[in-house]
Symmetry: C2
Subunit: 341 residues, 2 copies
Amino acid sequence: MVRTESAGPGRTATLSDVAQLAGVSIATASKAINGRDEVAPATRRRVLEAAEQLSFTPNQLARSLLAGRTGTVGLLTSDLEGRFVIPILMGAEDAFGAGQVNVFLCDARGDAIREQHHLKALLNRRVDGIIVVGRQTDPRPSLGTLPVPVVYAYAPSDDQNDLSITPDNRAGGRLAVEHLISCGRSRIAHISGDPAYAAARDRLLGVRDGLQAAGLELVGDAMFSVWSEHWGRDAAALLLAQHPEVDGIVCGSDQIARGVLDTLRDLGRSVPEDVAVIGYDNWEVLATNSRPELTSIDANLQQLGRTAAKRVFTALDDEQRSGTEYQPVRLVIRGSTIPRR
Amino acid sequence: MVRTESAGPGRTATLSDVAQLAGVSIATASKAINGRDEVAPATRRRVLEAAEQLSFTPNQLARSLLAGRTGTVGLLTSDLEGRFVIPILMGAEDAFGAGQVNVFLCDARGDAIREQHHLKALLNRRVDGIIVVGRQTDPRPSLGTLPVPVVYAYAPSDDQNDLSITPDNRAGGRLAVEHLISCGRSRIAHISGDPAYAAARDRLLGVRDGLQAAGLELVGDAMFSVWSEHWGRDAAALLLAQHPEVDGIVCGSDQIARGVLDTLRDLGRSVPEDVAVIGYDNWEVLATNSRPELTSIDANLQQLGRTAAKRVFTALDDEQRSGTEYQPVRLVIRGSTIPRR
DNA sequence: GAAAATACCGAAATGCTTTTCGGTACGTTA
DNA sequence: TAACGTACCGAAAAGCATTTCGGTATTTTC
């Protein structure tokens, strides 16, 4: 059987049970347990012993009802499968110590109706705030004005009165190209994913920023299609055929980069000696299992989640912000740009 | 600023506000809103209008306090990064309609102390039940007897008095090998991951079951090391050197299978014509991006999560079970075992 | 037209904790 | 000894919604 009853009296102990066992009033028991000082040491000891004996734990529901704060946040995401929400979720979850704040997870599956349902449920449960996580960095519709603070993470809100936190894709693109340049590359191409994604466009802007600052130009046109290994392979073949002189490739994602590496290998180009390749997202399972391992841009998503959670609670304490914050990204160097010793 | 106040009276409306506005008692307002029938139609209308006007939503905290049920479950996982917990989490999350039941997510990071903290927090919040999700299929320590039902998912509990739900790895191994046999293969090898994992050992048992039933024997020894592409590549090279006659390879994971495919390609063996390859886990991003796409065993993890959540609530209604349930797995056929037309 | 039944509504209890405030009992000061 | 202060404790309210049960007012029945 699913074990469900404590050995005790069948029911979880309440404060009044503790008080009775200790022979004091409920008020005194509460004070003793919460460390208030209007209680005699001996009494406190009796109460604590009683609480221990009954393995009493205060009912957070009653507590929250009174305090008006629940110590919970809702995390409303549009797709859990996505690789991006998970680190954000982790960051939000541990922004405070274990067990201090708890996260209600809601997956709307990209469905607006479902999202409204979840939203209502969260408000009914009196969450202290809500974090909305999108699956792309394109702006998403605002939830409007709610009785609790809302922070938009990854996908910013389309309303500048909301607070959004999103990775700085433009800086990422620039960082990638600057790294290739610092590795001595000057004939750099860009293979990216779906141009309908703001992420793809922003990263390209960053790439151009970096090239321009170095007085360089992109080799060929930026290549867009989908975020897949297959496209990476095909695009690399195309690129090498038209521009065999290329010596560095900035890829829009690690998946694309994996495909690019495959094709380079097939064509007998060695990485990073002949061509340096850099990915984007730093998706460990892809980046560390390729030959050679993949240099990539990491969007610091876990940090982003932490920041979002913190913002929710500082908003509660009335330090309110708005607009879109861009979270810095970082470069993770591996063998696809720097030869292994 | 983070938008936080409804345009209204600064405070969320309570039932008593509604009652006052409608000119009825609190009791009547409650009945009207909850569809109880001891209230006149005209009165009900007045109340509902008032509720609408104040955009009243009942406080779940108060409701739960009274009902003794919160409509929440805790999901205690040991690593969120893991690829396995996510589908389980999704399944648990949507086991009931949107917004009916909510999931508290807790990531213990594999730390027992942290797990205890989270557990305590969940119990304080009076969750109706707890789902414990491990990252491997090896048995994990039981949480012991708790005041709410507990279901162990993926990683079973080491205590048979608990209820555990885990994928049937042995059946998966057998299914994989049977599929290869049905594709006309008879010289089958097995490359797997870390033998410290029960998953690796169980899958091998299943592979042997399948071979034995067909009167076949494994080609060479089963090869164990780690769950990585690198190992898959190395192992395949070794295997082909010693047993060039091999015509089918059951891999312990999709990662390993990817590595195997790489090596086969390097060695000029075509897949699936010369050698058929099957992976395990059906990790989409790996399986659908390889050349050829990878046939794999899917553990139905989302279904597993749904089942776990359902079990928690049926346990509440006193239909209690124990022991370990094995969740069936399924075969997903792609190009690495059946030639594409 | 009187008795009984029905329909509708409200006071109050319930669930559990925290906090305020009033009250003993004891000791201290003049 | 009278007046006062201190230390400790408990009754009660607050937080919000649900439910029971008793009570009017209205209708039905004979």
